[in-house]
């Protein structure tokens, strides 16, 4: 169960990144035909990021304590003290940007409003870049747990 929960949150985050890329591409090719798709894609980004928040929060609160203890005793202690601490708080910035994204697409006529389109592109770029950075941070944390396990001395 722990592994499944651990797997869920980066999966939802990647789905959020994919729908944000979808928003970005639709904005670059905007016409009357894809306005509805932009709203669906931007709203999907919000939903996936909320799912990421819930699943990562559940894993962090319920299961992370044992991994944290392992990491802090291992050779990559910075993976908790620096990477995880930064990751868990930078995530809230992505969450806020994801909550703001559909408000722009729904409340503005994107077809005729260049500034609204620019704002959507800015937000999408920030969400995509920051999310990918946090995915890399997650990989470093997972690797730090493995490093700690490899360094454990097994007493027969």
């Amino acid at each position: 169960m722990e592994q499944f929960i651990l797997f869920l949150h980066p999966m939802f985050a990647i789905f959020g990144v994919i729908t944000t890329v979808w928003v970005f591409v639709e904005i670059l090719n905007i016409s009357e035909n894809n306005l509805k798709r932009i709203n669906i894609a931007s709203f999907s980004t919000t939903i996936f990021m909320i799912f990421t928040w819930i699943t990562s929060g559940y894993w962090y609160i319920v299961y992370y304590a044992s991994d944290k203890a392992l990491i802090l005793k291992g050779p990559w202690a910075f993976a908790h003290s620096l990477i995880m601490e930064s990751k868990e708080h930078i995530f809230f910035i992505i969450l806020i940007l994801s909550l703001f994204l559909p408000i722009i697409s729904i409340k503005n006529n994107l077809l005729n409003n260049k500034k609204a389109r620019s704002l959507v592109l800015v937000l999408a770029s920030l969400i995509i870049f920051s999310s990918l950075m946090l995915e890399i941070a997650g990989a470093i944390i997972s690797f730090a747990v493995r490093m700690s396990l490899n360094n454990m001395v097994v007493v027969p």
């Binding site: 930064s86 930078i90 806020i96 940007l97 408000i103 503005n108 005729n112 609204a116 620019s118």
Partner: protein, 114 residues
């Protein structure tokens, strides 16, 4: 073929309201992150608050940030804000996101190196 006609349309007032809220809440998130690490009574208070039977500072932190975003967004959307132009929101969100993310990383780097 659709021809795009650019008008001088401004951003919708909800967009400006929630845009301002985003900027303020992202800064608030960074300040709260640093404050709760440096001033233990805040961390203790956040740990003591129960959300759905769970007491954890990260849970409280996230809920405070999201609730504040909606309250400020709703408040600013009701106001007639004329002093904020469209490009300010875009530029401010870019800079605030970059600087606040870097601020959090640098803060934890300093804490780690102590």
């Amino acid at each position: 073929m659709t021809i795009l006609t650019e008008t001088k349309s401004e951003l919708d007032k909800n967009t400006i309201g929630f845009g301002l809220a985003s900027i303020i809440v992202i800064i608030f998130n960074t300040i709260l992150t640093i404050l709760k690490e440096l001033y233990s009574p805040i961390l203790t208070l956040m740990k003591s608050i129960s959300v759905l039977g769970v007491k954890h500072h990260w849970l409280v932190h996230g809920l405070v940030v999201v609730i504040l975003f909606f309250i400020l967004g709703w408040y600013f959307s009701k106001k007639e804000i004329t002093t904020i132009n469209d490009t300010f929101i875009s530029k401010a969100i870019i800079w605030v996101t970059i600087l606040c993310s870097l601020g959090i990383i640098i803060f934890f780097l300093i804490e780690f190196l102590k």
